[in-house]
């Protein structure tokens, strides 16, 4: 279970640290006024400052119990969290597998895994859908629109 407050805090910290990174790295480009006009780092520097200040405000808003936050104490219940993970974790593994297995093999495996492993579909049907997905991707991108999707290190090793 994740409370609304924790989620607000986490997001504010996330945006704030992004803002801080922007501020620090824009200092490399120089801020302020030079003979060539406004220096390259100035604009990002200001946006970074705005992000940091805004995030601080949101952070304070998240800690101080305000009426809006009190009305929704729980943002994500444990069931919802499991559903979120059920979608995101396989998707992340799929993306991680692309450099090795290539887009076609990875997407086929991905479809097969999410349909067959939780027993949402029978194994033959899941196999069929997985094959159909990879084939559709191949026909649409490689053939019709001439966009080459990554074939992966494995395919390269086999000489494709």
């Amino acid at each position: 279970m994740i409370s609304r407050r924790a989620l607000e805090l986490a997001t504010a910290v996330l945006t704030g640290s992004f803002g801080l990174t922007v501020v620090v790295s824009s200092l490399d480009n120089g801020i302020g006024w030079s003979s060539a006009g406004v220096e390259a780092g100035t604009f990002p520097f200001l946006t970074g400052i705005i992000i940091v200040l805004g995030s601080l405000y949101n952070l304070v808003r998240g800690v101080v119990p305000a009426a809006t936050l009190a009305s929704v104490p729980i943002a994500i219940t444990s069931i919802e969290l499991r559903r979120l993970a059920g979608l995101f974790v396989p998707a992340a593994i799929f993306v991680a597998a692309i450099p090795l297995a290539g887009m076609y093999v990875a997407s086929a495996l991905y479809i097969f895994a999410v349909l067959a492993i939780p027993r949402r579909q029978s194994v033959p049907r899941a196999l069929g859908m997985a094959a159909a997905t990879a084939l559709a991707l191949y026909v649409v991108f490689e053939r019709m629109f001439q966009v080459s999707l990554p074939h992966g290190a494995l395919a390269a090793a086999f000489g494709f």
């Binding site: 790295s25 480009n29 390259a40 405000y57 304070v60 992340a92 991707l137 999707l149």
Partner: protein, 516 residues
């Protein structure tokens, strides 16, 4: 009357067989992404973008804009039949649309929604026809300072009228600006904000951000609540369609008011979502039957639908004539324009007459095509909703991954897309607005260039933003919009001295924003 002549010329471009075919394809694809939760108009249009590179710009924009109309209509179908908004902008349609459909009048609800949506779109297009070239003419005389002032006004109106928490809007905007700044700086040529990652030199493409923010983010929100498609009957009785549309003129006050709200929110970027909510809220307050709202009132469907489509359509006006998109989808289309080698803004009306008027004429035709197609295909797309979400979700993930990859054949883009997905989920969950974020990514560079050019002209003095009446008005209006949420807070502050401590910090932070 020049405009009408140009418009007729535009019709001769829009009403050709290939373009009509593109409209049909675009509208059907649009309804598809509108119906499917997790896919919406912004990422639908950006998915289609790489496929348009070989086309004539006018054909490409007809395809993309038709998809936009289709998506706007498709979102209403699921709102009414399943109580699931297919698009964020059709959330307000569920309030009265679904109850009416559940009470056994699905045809009435759908026909009312489509009829008023078409009316809203028509008003939007008429506005574009008569106003766009005039605005462009005025804008031809703009210098960098005026441009920066217009950008500033656009961003400020998100803060003042977007409906989300103002500071959250500002944070979203600023993050968009920072993302836009990543890569090579167009003015000095130096590399910025790459944090040591060489691949980031080319910058972060907005398509990657849109895929993650709207695609993966929306999918994560949708998966949370396992919805069952408890569909009401999706059969269309044609006689009732015409009867319902025939009854619309009785609600002409609501129609006109909602269209006005929609056009206003579309031009000053508030976006269709904010427009539909605002229109629904105002209708509930002013309608004689306001207390029946939420139980299947006709005006409860008319108001959000008219405003939604009026806003969606008129969002293209500032995009065409000023180069400032009025909604997230318009921002994506504008990105497309730049990729096709066109320069969005007033020069379009001088250099690319065929493109501009072909597009405007296609809006008239495209919306008629959309109404006809959406009525014809309601049963088909309603059947689509019965496919379990567990099958659709991984397919959408794959579409987003492939879409992000094909932008520039970069694996890093795919990883970033996934990251944007998490950000999109968090932002949606906590009511950070996404449209300003996308808008800032697309036009952040241009706003910055305008600012730096005006600083060069004035040798570093901010006085250039108050140098003439026009630019002063724009800047003052922008500052007023920034301060609007603060002013609205003041009476509450006075009534509740107990919470004064937090409110003053709010004031201070907000003032800092303005002075920066």
């Amino acid at each position: 009357m020049d405009n009408l002549g140009e418009l007729l010329h535009g019709f001769s471009i829009a009403i050709t067989l290939p373009h009509l075919a593109l409209m049909v394809i675009g509208v059907l694809l649009g309804i598809l992404v509108g119906v499917l939760p997790g896919l919406g108009a912004p990422n639908g249009v950006s998915l289609l973008l790489p496929l348009t590179f070989g086309m004539q710009p006018v054909s490409a924009i007809i395809l993309l804009s038709s998809m936009y109309w289709g998506a706007l209509f498709g979102g209403s179908v699921t709102s009414i039949l399943f109580n699931i908004p297919g698009e964020p902008s059709s959330v307000a349609t569920t309030f009265d649309g679904y109850p009416m459909a559940r009470d056994g009048r699905p045809t009435t609800a759908l026909a009312t929604a489509f009829g008023s949506a078409a009316f809203g779109a028509l008003i939007g297009v008429i506005l574009i026809t008569f106003l766009a070239s005039w605005v462009a003419q005025v804008a031809l005389a703009f210098g960098p300072a005026e441009y920066f002032a217009v950008y500033f006004l656009a961003f400020a109106s998100f803060v003042g009228m977007g409906g989300a928490a103002p500071i959250k809007t500002i944070v979203a905007l600023a993050i968009g600006f920072a993302i836009a700044a990543i890569g090579i700086d167009t003015v000095s040529g130096s590399v910025r904000l790459t944090m040591g990652v060489d691949e980031l030199v080319k910058g972060v493409n907005f398509v990657v951000a849109v895929m993650g923010l709207f695609g993966i983010g929306e999918l994560l929100v949708a998966v949370e609540e396992e919805f069952h498609a408890r569909a009401v009957s999706s059969k269309i009785e044609w006689r009732e369609v015409f009867r319902a549309i025939g009854r619309l003129p009785r609600h002409s006050v609501a129609l006109l008011r909602s269209a006005a709200i929609g056009c206003w929110m579309g031009i000053t970027p508030g976006g269709p979502t904010a427009a539909s909510f605002m229109s629904y809220g105002i209708a509930r307050r002013f309608s004689r039957r306001g207390r029946y709202f939420g139980t299947g009132e006709v005006e409860g469907i008319i108001s959000p639908e008219t405003a939604d489509h009026a806003a969606g359509t008129s969002a293209l006006l500032p995009m065409l004539s000023l180069g400032i998109p009025g909604s997230a989808t318009a921002a994506v289309m504008m990105g497309g324009l730049m990729i096709w080698g066109l320069n969005p803004g007033p020069m379009l009306f001088v250099d690319q007459k065929d493109f501009v008027w072909g597009l405007i004429a296609s809006m008239y035709v495209g919306n008629i095509v959309a109404v006809a197609l959406v009525l014809l295909t309601v049963p088909v797309f309603a059947a689509l909703m019965r496919i379990p979400f567990v099958i659709i979700a991984p397919l959408i993930v794959i579409i987003c991954v492939v879409g992000a990859y094909s932008v520039s054949n970069s694996y890093l883009d795919v990883v970033m897309m996934l990251g944007f997905g998490i950000v999109g989920y968090l932002f949606k969950k906590l009511f950070y607005p996404l449209a300003p974020l996308v808008l800032a990514i697309v036009i952040g560079d241009k706003a910055e260039d305008a600012f730096r050019q005006s600083m060069l002209m004035s040798k570093g003095s901010l006085g250039i933003f108050f140098a003439n009446k026009l630019v002063t008005c724009l800047i003052v209006a922008g500052i007023a919009l920034l301060l609007l949420p603060l002013v609205l807070q003041l009476p509450r502050l006075w009534r509740k001295p107990a919470s004064a401590a937090t409110e003053t910090t709010a004031q201070e932070t907000a003032r800092e924003k303005v002075t920066i």
